[in-house]
Amino acid sequence: MKTTYREAMRAALREALLADDRVFLMGEDVGAYGGGFAVSLGLIEEFGPERIRDAPLSESGFVGAGIGAALGGMRPIVEIMTVNFSLLALDQIMNNAATILHMSGGQFNVPLVIRMTTGAGRQLAAQHSHSLEGWLAHIPGLKVLTPATLEDARGMLATALADPDPVLIFEHGTLYNMKGELADDAGAVDIDRAAVRRAGSDVSLVTYGGTLFKTLDAAEELAGEGIDAEVIDLRALRPLDMPTVIESVRRTHRAVIVDEGWRSGSISAEISARITEQAFWDLDAPVVRVCSAEVPIPFAKHLEDAAVPQVADVVAGARQAVGGG
């Protein structure tokens, strides 16, 4: 079946709402407006305003309410329109969602799913282009998913809802319109394993989310130069599936991490550190990182393009790793 990332996500929402009465969707403009990115378009007509619940502009309030509802036995899906607004709810995410299970000595779990749009690439300037999924992945108690493919857009939500603990899903804004073929019976997928999206033997390109397809394009370009790159889609930033990464690096002996987050203190730094910890003796070259420039994301197209990782940057990073750059 032909579909888009957005439609796949909507199909997943609809399926979840049909499958379980405890599931409801809550967030800014998820109902009457149809969702800031039109993901939930049409759902309020089908499920009504109680279950497709428009929330006031109170991120901390409705994210916290999601936590409380989860504690109270519901399976809320909270949509935060964009990752930047999640900063207003960080207290609830970090101090409550991630800690209550622990603080209560295991008595109270928080089966909450929070979805949000992330990433640059749409000329939305410095307050709407963050890639903060790596930040959130810093926090024990959370799971952080970054679906990049149609299969994952379609399948991760159900698995996240089945999880007893809070799960954050980061949907890269440039992916919603991505078209492709999806199996008619596509459904739940695992959320704890990375996927090798392209096999290769010379260098491991490790990425996730919005930069997956740039990285795959780069791998094609590298193939033309005789560099056989493997592309790993992390799919989840917490937990990190390091065994898959390490297994790959042990074969290729070189790693390039592509991350739209800023370099300093990023998830790419974490992955690099773990490669060094776990596969140091297998490396033939220093780990290379391709990250966003250390600058708020600019509005002007040419500057935005320059700020975030592009295919050419990935190609250059891979060349550097194999010693030809």
Partner: protein, 457 residues
């Protein structure tokens, strides 16, 4: 009943406090909750309360004194009753028991005592396949410490087959892939060593730099296992010298701007005289031409100080004397360049004696540290190998190296006539930071001059 009043803890970050005011005196009656003392800490001044009813007996700590948390501040005689607040207005007989508001939990912890070990201890034990049950703990409460585990592993020695490092687990790597540190890999490549033939001693059996010591380079790509040098059991040392020398020479070529000069010297006269002198001497007293070359070099170095000394931290430091380095090739490979100290003050004969001694000890590995430390200029003599000239690499931090080739017979103009004479090529490699070509030319000219007139015994 005597009760102690101790320095209260007001927070985990409080270690001690200073008594700034006693609110009570011996004999005073106090009730639970009364403020009895004012305590000053780095963070705040706090009124501290007493937790019993009673009479103050003695103030142990005076105003102005500091006391640690838990230290005795005062003693009290407690009344033994804890009637509190002012709720009980008249003492009464024993109260009738009331039904407890809720069942009180059992105060006994009946769970089996769980033996716990720190993560570090567990990790060490797992790595060594050590059963912790058999290990005695010396830590608090008999807890196992790192030292306990390490001692247990050491005590076990190698009796337990598991104690040996487990072979690296094959995990995804292609067959034949050798784990090696990046540094070891780079060095092995530079030295032409095939890592497949090196036994790694690092984590996961990885080859680390130290493992390369004693391994000789493969002569061809994919050759048979490299073996220790066939020449000598001291191959380890030899290899280590090779690596060290290689590093030193690489540094020299990287850092020192070399310039090179050469001159050809006719040595018929002096060599004839040397031969004549040797004819008169028993074998042990004979002088080799090498001694003459060293002598002439030492003389020239003394006369051209910019060739004799060290380049240190961006400046040239002239030598206080000529400590003449002699490049000595070792049997089985390798090179050392020990020094003949104060060489400019020695006669040719003295230099010969010292050279013979030095070479002998160099080749038996009996050099003194001082001889290796501080040459101010070095001579390399490849004459015995038959080459005509040598343009050497300066030993940092020295600034010059003198090379001698073999003596060959060449057509030579003498007094306007062509003749066949024995000649020798002397070369100079010099550091352009310390000297320039003019100095170098002068040095070689003086050297050639001294070669003509050795003061032979």
């Amino acid at each position: 009943m005597v009760a102690d009043f101790r320095m209260p803890s007001l927070g985990a970050d409080m270690e001690a406090g200073t008594v700034v005011e006693w609110r009570v005196a011996p004999g005073d009656v106090v009730r639970r909750g009364d403020v009895v003392v004012v305590i000053e800490t780095e963070k705040a001044t706090i009124e501290a309360e007493v937790f019993v009813d009673g009479v103050v007996d003695q103030l142990v700590v005076e105003v102005g004194q500091e006391a640690e948390v838990g230290a005795l501040l005062a003693t009290l005689t407690a009344s033994g009753e804890e009637a509190s607040l002012t709720l009980t207005e008249t003492p009464t007989a024993a109260p009738a028991p009331l039904t407890p508001a809720r069942p009180a939990p059992s105060a006994v912890d009946a769970r089996p005592r769980h033996v716990t070990h720190s993560p570090l201890v567990r990790h060490l034990a797992e790595q060594a396949h050590l059963d912790l049950v058999a290990v005695d703990g010396t830590g608090a409460g008999g807890a196992l410490t790192r030292r306990d585990v390490e001692r247990a592993i050491a005590d076990r020695g190698y009796a337990d087959p598991h104690a040996r490092a487990a072979p690296p687990v094959a995990f995804g790597g292609e067959p034949g892939r050798v784990k090696a540190s990046p540094l070891a890999r780079r060095r092995a490549a530079a030295l032409g060593i095939d890592l497949k033939h090196v036994t790694g001693t690092g984590p996961e059996g990885a080859v680390v730099t130290a493992d390369l010591v004693g391994v000789t380079p493969s002569t061809d790509q994919g050759a048979s296992p490299a073996v220790a040098s066939r020449h000598r059991p001291a191959a380890d040392a030899s290899f280590r010298r090779r690596v060290a020398l290689g590093n030193l020479m690489a540094r020299s070529k990287r850092e020192i701007p070399h310039y090179y000069l050469s001159t050809t010297v006719e040595v018929g006269g002096p060599w004839d005289r040397l031969r004549e002198a040797n004819e008169r001497r028993p074998v042990a007293g004979r002088v080799l031409p090498a001694a003459v070359l060293l002598w002439a070099t030492a003389q020239a170095a003394a006369e051209v100080p910019v060739m004799n000394g060290h380049w240190v931290d961006g400046v040239f430091v002239p030598g206080d004397a000529v400590h003449l380095g002699v490049a000595i090739s070792l049997r089985g490979g390798g090179l050392v360049a020990p020094s003949l100290r104060d060489a400019e003050r020695c006669s040719v004969a003295e230099l010969m004696v010292r050279l013979r001694d030095l070479v002998g000890r160099a080749r038996t590995g009996a050099l003194r540290t001082s001889e290796l430390s501080d040459p101010t200029i070095t001579v390399t003599n490849l004459g015995d190998q038959g080459v005509e000239s040598v343009f050497g690499v300066i030993y940092p931090p020295q600034v010059a190296l003198v090379g001698f080739g073999t003596v060959v017979e060449r057509p030579w103009a003498v007094d306007g006539m062509l003749a066949v004479r024995p000649v020798l090529t002397a070369t100079l490699s010099a550091d352009h930071r310390a000297s320039d070509g003019h100095d170098g030319a002068r040095f070689l000219t003086l050297l050639a001059h001294h070669l003509q007139e050795p003061e032979l015994p």
